[in-house]
Amino acid sequence: MSRREMKTSSRAPHRSIAARFLTVVGLLTVLVPGLPLAAPSEVRLEEKLASPSLETLWRDGFEPERIRDPGPVSRLLIETRTAVFGDRQLGPLLGTDALGRCLLSRLAWGARLSLAVGLVASAISLIIGVAWGAVAGYAGGRVDDIMMRAVDVLYALPLMFIVIFVVALLRGFRNEHPELEANQIIVLFAVIGATSWLTMARIVRGQVLSLRGTEFMDAARASGSTDLSILRRHVLPNVTPVVLVTLTLTIPRVMLFEAFLSFLGLGVEAPDVSWGVLARQGFDALTAVHVNAWLILFPGLAFATTLLAMNALGDRLRDALDPRLRGGRQ
């Protein structure tokens, strides 16, 4: 697809259902504090394990102070919300958990953390991976050899296991010293991001290598551009499509990994909520006596729809950008 076609064609990735769905999810996620939802940690023991129902659509009782240290933007949104809705909030439309907390509100707040984990970790891997791959591919020769050999060595390591090992070690330390509230989520972001840049580096390097012999690069060099400006003006724009595709496929992987860690008790910790935590709680609520199916169904659906959309968008982007599928036009 040419750039022009990308803008107008109905097959353009940004016009797909997946892209629109993700835009809506993303917007809602940002706006969560401004929506008339119950506070995610509001406990109502008298309503515990209520199944989904539309009986109480609206009710009073929102307590803004129950939302734990909101940032400046969230505080503004909460203030707007109280100005518009007062202390009214949506009832537990998707049911409640074992402590009577509203699942709808917890899913909405959990989306913030889950998506943030996915985005921030992917962004870290993006920055390291693109820088590493671009420098290696552009420099070539010995530098390239050494840098890519380092990537090979890291590839051979069982990185997942080392990550789990490190997080578990730190968690053990935390359990014994609760007074040290090191933010586990930041550790999580950093560790996941720092280990998932290898594929990105390889792909970017391959792409840059194929750019090296092109005439416009020679022209840029002949006209006296510095290496840095060539990298910035010519190399980076040309690797952007591939990077975008890799990125859309990295985010779902990271989000699944967050769920995985949360299941093992190594991920996000209460009172914070993420989809992984909710899925784990839903799994725990599944007993022979009471099948509280909604508690695992809705987190599962949240994962399924969002990750499906991301994967679909990634595939769509790849189809649109992959030169092999462009019908012979280079």
């Binding site: 069982p158 010293h177 699944l256 995985f260 093992l264």
Partner: protein, 336 residues
Amino acid sequence: MTAGVVALLGLAGAPVGMLLFARKLTRHGWRVAPFLLRRTGWLLVTTLVVFTVSFLLMRAVPGGPFDDGRKLMPQVRQNLEARFGLDRPVGEQWLAALGGLPTFDFGPSMTLRDFTVREVIGQGLPASALLGLAALAWMLLIGVPIGVTAALKHGHPLDAALSAGASLGMAIPNFVLAGALMWPLVIATGWLPAAGLDGPRALLLPSFCLGAPFAAQVARLVRTGMLEVLGQDWIRTARAKGLSETRVITRHALRGALLPVVTFLGPALAGILTGSLVIEQVFAIPGVGTHFVQSAINRDYTLALGMIMLYTLMVYVLNAIADLLLAALDPRIELT
């Protein structure tokens, strides 16, 4: 003593066996020897690096195996530390542990009383290996046929349905899948046992939940591969010389379409190992996975070290085997 001899024989015998096997397998002849040698060399380097880094990491994080909340009398703690050699300098401890590495003899576990690291691994590994192999079988047995069917029905609603199913399989965490399947198959009907690993019936559900996400990826790879291959000239030739459609697909097309699957085998095996940590916990399977996480949390130095080395070795060796298989299927591939 005997264990040591057996281990040494194994260490010496494994590469020779590998070499003979790989030579037959790959048509690369004796050229597989340098490949295996290089891989063994890298394996030693990797093992040493992972070993040292994990060893130092465990000691760098404050606290130790005997700090689990209860107050120990200083004398008791001293005795415990002396028993496990924790009172000696770190370098000396490192050397002692390194000596146990070739035979996996890391000594007794620090938190599971009366068990050595070798015993824990020996008891858990068969169950974990069985689970992993069964998951691998599911991955291929569901993934490949679905991929082929989807490709043959390209554009048909069946293709759309299968592809959608495959995408869904990649989009939910395996324990959510386990929960969703557990209700109809275990809780409501009692068809399958809920936990443990007694008999093949108990293996069905856990291995399916572990293998399904990878089966989904295999299906997608096979579908794309088949679509690409089916358009090639040599497939037309095969048809033109009068081969039956089944033979064209199974003998000619599938061979080409399976290449991406074999490439995916390495990451898939690593992924199955990772996923088994969760699945073992979900279905209460007495494998090594639970020990891996728990020993690191408890800072059970000896057991945690044994566990991370075990998984490092498995990931590494499985990756090497996957590379050999790839070379066996595609003679153009250079072994590096």
